[in-house]
Symmetry: C2
Subunit: 665 residues, 2 copies
């Protein structure tokens, strides 16, 4: 920034009209410009700058600079509690919008809460508890205006399936509950830690392609689990993968109950139809938003009137009335279960963060405000820690409910409070009404919700854009379906990382040629008009040169020199364009030293073009020890290097003329 002083007064003229000066400065007679060494810097200040770029690249404290102390305190409080930021400006017209949106999402959140709790093998009431406290916490801490928080399907599924491996929810419900709260606690701790230590970039490793495949796989797995409720099967597989579930379904055909199947298919049909309507006409969003609650009410009435619970239709049964009881005394830090709860916490924590932050960012981008990823993680983390102490299991921002919130005209996080109060009223007064709610309708609600996770359009888009991304997507999908939810995810993440590593291990290298009539040098294979400069081999390496690729880069350069020598007898110069080499390490420095030896052995003159500061600095340090590269090795542009090298070696011109003769044959 300091460079922007009065010194650049003449710059626009130079850039726009000052060609003639270029002409003069670049004439062959003048000495080419030298590549400077970067300004000296201590290891400590360099470390500080690096750390800042890694952890504070978004510079969250920028707005504090130069403010009086009192303002700083206010800004700090607003930073920690965003409600202080938007709260004072809150008014009645905003509240009118929020109250409608809040009641709409509550009508969706109540049946979904009950259903998702079942997905996690938890009592239905826990799902309602989790739709009451966490939204209140999020309203105070969260910076998104559209996020509707509560339990979501995927983390419910994962928590349920992972915890079932160590405790049986049917027989040891109390232990299972304690493990669920403890896992939620660890998830919150992990999330908050990621936010506090500004490691939020970890969730970036769940790329779009990974998530598309993972979500679709999880949607199918969740739907398959609902076959239990839809068909009325009692003895169902305890495993999640496709094969055991399907074999379980067709093994227990004698348990299928036609009454359940009939009721289930009717309500599933209705729910899918309302979903279709709302998808086609976004204005009718309330049709699909209200349908789950309407289905619950209707089906409860039907069961009550026909006493269907005596005819093979299983019902929820008595639910306890009242608000969340404290559960901090239920957290279980026992060595036997510690490893499991920590693992479940980390897995569900990461996935719920990925969903919550992605949803928050999507709507923020749509409405043109900003969501600070790290702050959002702290908010979600603290929300889950408090949740784990108040009988809630893991919660995050839900995509479906946030979309409804947005469509229903929700303006601020206040709609979460409205939803929360509606859930509270339900918990206090309406619980007895759910006694006759049939489980089959909950299964239908879940299927309708998770079917939206299968995004074939996105997968097609990925296929069109990038085949390797599609492979990652497909691996996540089949991994989730055939192996397990966690391993499918792990496979996709490892593949994505391997792809990045491969780009470094086998860096792109291009041979450059001159674009005739200009001073521009570009990839010969891409720019068809580009032509070779006789006597010169101009290579560009498009990755950091480090331990992972020095052998490869070295081998390819030797190969190219050999090939060149076989074809043109007159190769004299090797120019290495380092514009894209953003970093190097000790192996890279050894590579440069070996390259010098190689070119000397081959009788070539070596030159480097446009090295970045870091490389100049490290080469300078190597020079201090071995004195290898004088300033005559470094040039600002390929054009200058060619000019200068050609004029240095008189034979080169003769040589290039000779070569031209050969070329013309």
């Amino acid at each position: 920034m300091d460079a922007v002083g009065h010194s650049n007064t003449g710059s626009p003229a130079a850039a726009v009209g000052g060609r003639s000066e270029v002409e003069i400065r670049m004439a062959p007679e003048t000495v080419p410009r030298r590549v400077p060494l970067p300004p000296p810097q201590s290891t400590c200040s360099k470390l500080k700058r690096t750390m800042k770029e890694i952890f504070f690249s978004d510079d969250p404290f920028r707005r504090f600079h130069g403010k009086p102390l009192r303002t700083k305190w206010i800004l700090g409080a607003q930073f920690l509690f965003p409600i202080l930021d938007w709260g004072p400006a809150y008014n009645f017209s905003l509240f009118k919008s929020d109250i409608i949106a809040g009641i709409t999402i509550a009508s969706l959140a109540i049946p979904q809460g009950i259903s998702y709790a079942g997905l996690a093998n938890l009592p239905p009431i826990i799902g309602l508890y989790s739709s009451f406290v966490p939204p209140l916490v999020y309203t105070v801490l969260g910076s998104s205006k559209d996020l509707a928080v509560g339990p979501v399907s995927i983390t419910s599924l994962i928590m349920g399936s992972m915890l079932r491996q160590v405790a049986n929810p049917a027989k040891e419900l109390d232990l299972f509950l304690r493990l669920a709260f403890t896992s939620t606690f660890f998830a919150g701790l992990f999330q908050a830690a990621l936010g506090i230590f500004r490691l939020g970039f970890i969730i970036d490793y769940l790329s779009k392609a990974t998530l598309v495949g993972f979500m679709a796989g999880a949607g199918i797995i969740v739907s398959l689990q609902q076959l239990k409720g839809l068909l009325g099967i009692v003895h169902f597989s305890k495993q999640m993968a496709l094969v055991p579930v399907m074999s379980s379904v067709f093994h227990e055909t004698h348990e299928w109950s036609w009454q359940t199947v009939l009721m289930g298919s009717c309500f599933l049909g209705i729910l899918l139809l309302t979903r279709q309507i709302s998808t086609r006409r976004p204005k009718l969003f309330w049709v699909s938003a209200g349908a789950p609650l309407a289905s619950v009410i209707l089906s409860t009435l039907l069961v009550y009137l026909f006493k269907a619970q005596n005819h093979g239709i299983s019902i929820i049964g008595q639910l306890q009335r009242g608000l969340n009881s404290p559960s901090w005394d239920k957290l279980l830090f026992h060595g036997l279960y510690l490893a499991t709860t920590v693992k479940v916490g980390i897995v569900t924590g990461i996935i719920s963060l990925a969903e919550g932050v992605a949803v928050g960012r999507t709507f923020a981008a749509m409405k043109g405000y900003k969501v600070d990823g790290n702050k959002e993680m702290m908010a979600i983390g603290i929300m889950n820690i408090i949740g784990s102490c108040t009988s809630c299991y893991i919660t995050t921002g839900s995509f479906s409910r946030s979309a409804v919130n947005h469509n229903a005209g929700g303006k601020t996080a206040m709609s979460n409070i409205v939803m929360s109060i509606t859930v509270m009223v339900t918990l206090l007064f309406l619980m007895p009404l759910f006694v006759y709610t049939p489980n089959v309708v909950l299964a239908a609600i879940i299927i309708t919700a998770v079917i939206g996770l299968i995004d074939i359009n996105a997968a097609y888009h990925i296929w069109m854009m990038d085949k390797m991304d599609f492979l990652v997507c497909i691996c996540a999908f089949f991994g989730v379906i055939f192996i397990s939810v966690e391993e499918g995810l792990a496979i996709a993440v490892v593949l994505s990382i391997l792809r990045i590593l491969l780009q470094i291990t086998r860096p792109k290298m291009v041979i450059q040629g001159n674009i005739p009539g200009t001073d521009i040098y570009r990839n010969l294979h891409y720019y068809k008009e580009a032509t070779r400069v006789p006597g010169f081999l101009i290579l560009e390496v498009e990755a950091p040169i480090n331990f992972a690729n020095v052998t490869n880069v070295n081998e390819r350069i030797s190969r190219w020199i050999e090939e060149e020598k076989e074809k043109h007898l007159c190769l004299q110069f090797l120019i290495l364009d380092l514009s894209s080499v953003s970093a190097t390490d000790t192996s890279g420095i050894s590579f440069f030293m070996e390259l010098k030896k190689l070119t000397e052995k081959e009788g070539l003159q070596l030159a480097f073009v446009n090295p970045v500061g870091e490389i100049m600095e490290k080469l300078q340090r190597a020079n201090d020890l071995y004195n290898l590269f004088g300033p005559e090795y470094f040039y600002l542009t390929t054009g200058e290097a060619i000019l200068s090298l050609s004029s240095l070696s008189k034979e080169s011109r003769q040589c290039s003329k000779g070569t031209n003769g050969i070329y013309n044959l």
Copy 2:
């Protein structure tokens, strides 16, 4: 290569003297050159090209091209058996050099073989067996002229310590032997597979920094183990790490035998002295090369004369005479031990490859010939497979013996045959002579050998060059010393990989400025003379733009635009220099689309400079779906982009004048 046709006849002139043409073409009136789309290519041919670059980047079959079939057969045979390449030209003068070198390395290999077998908890004879068969195999298959193969200290140590976790060599020697042969078999299989599938780059992930730290740590661990022999302790710790070994040493002080300590320190002193002499005067290499055998002979004589075995000095004892017996029937593929032997095989396989290939490449570079890494892996792999069937444990190229081989004037792999025959003679006739050899002298030989692994100069060099590499080095060192050999190595490799990932996750981004009087744009903070172009924000991203960094890049660009807007009211254009963005993925494409939205919202005009073919192609595919970026978004150089954008928007000039006014205040 095809582009090198007759069309480039005019190119040198254009490059060297054709400035005036540049001037004309780049005048503001002319239309700027367009960035072309890369030549169309099917997914299949692209995949083929990518695979070739990944697996056959050194193009090993190049020399087969266009040769008659018979020559191809001969070349193929020479490719598989390099001995056919150098064998026919072998002559007596070469043999004279090789016989001297061979006998010299044999005199080192015999005592080292016996000692290293002890390091692996194997009977001494196995060490000699392993110095007999593998060198013969390597002579036929290997492409290095200097590598002296046989057992080496680090892999002996690792195999011994890892296998000891599942079998007790003192009580279950037969099982232990079978596990060692099986592990060697798996190591060979793994090595050969890496070579055949051309995955040799995996060993590149053991960077120089990792190896320096690892070797030093292993050297210390091995030396500490020798305290058992040097002090004559009987009940020694079974663990390898520093703390348990030292506590064991000082716990068992009553077992220390002064005779052993005396003899040990004398011989250790002599050996270290000869090492010093040879290091200072390379011509006297034979002093340190012959010293171990001389020590063995001298100490054996001393023990025999003074009957020292009755005075607390432990001796090797009776060794069986005769050559290797077949051991393929001893390979144990039992489920119980399979996991261990496979794991030991992979760990020792990778480490022995790293040592063997590195040594081979070092001497090849010194003498100016080439060693094909993948072929070398196949050679070492097959050598170990055959070894595992002939009572040998894992072998590779040894650094110390190869250096002696080189110094002694060895010219071809024939010196390995000479060494092998010398070992054979020893096995057949001289075994009874080792009965009285004291174990303490073997400990001294090992310490002298491994002390060379601690390379303080290299560590200092790494510290000077790259602090992060030094961290990797130090982590490997302390990991090996305090945790375990495998885990120390794993920590260092993971750290190195994280560093690469970090470079992608937090890519370098620079603000560019114009170098006055030229058409060159460079990093403002590095080139102090560079000045901002008013109205323009010119950014360069120095990494592939992909899922791991899109959020970060997006955040930083928004931040910069905000900062700019705060300072200069007149920001009108955002130029993104994509020269260094070598690849992208679906997330990257979404990033470009979002960037367009962002700049539109901020009222900026966006332009991309010098995108590589892959990015143009993917953006084109996105365009087919969404029609976002017309050709007016892409420019070949920053200069052209600025020219063209400035002339497009007339206000921009006024604006920049206005800004200049502000600047001048």
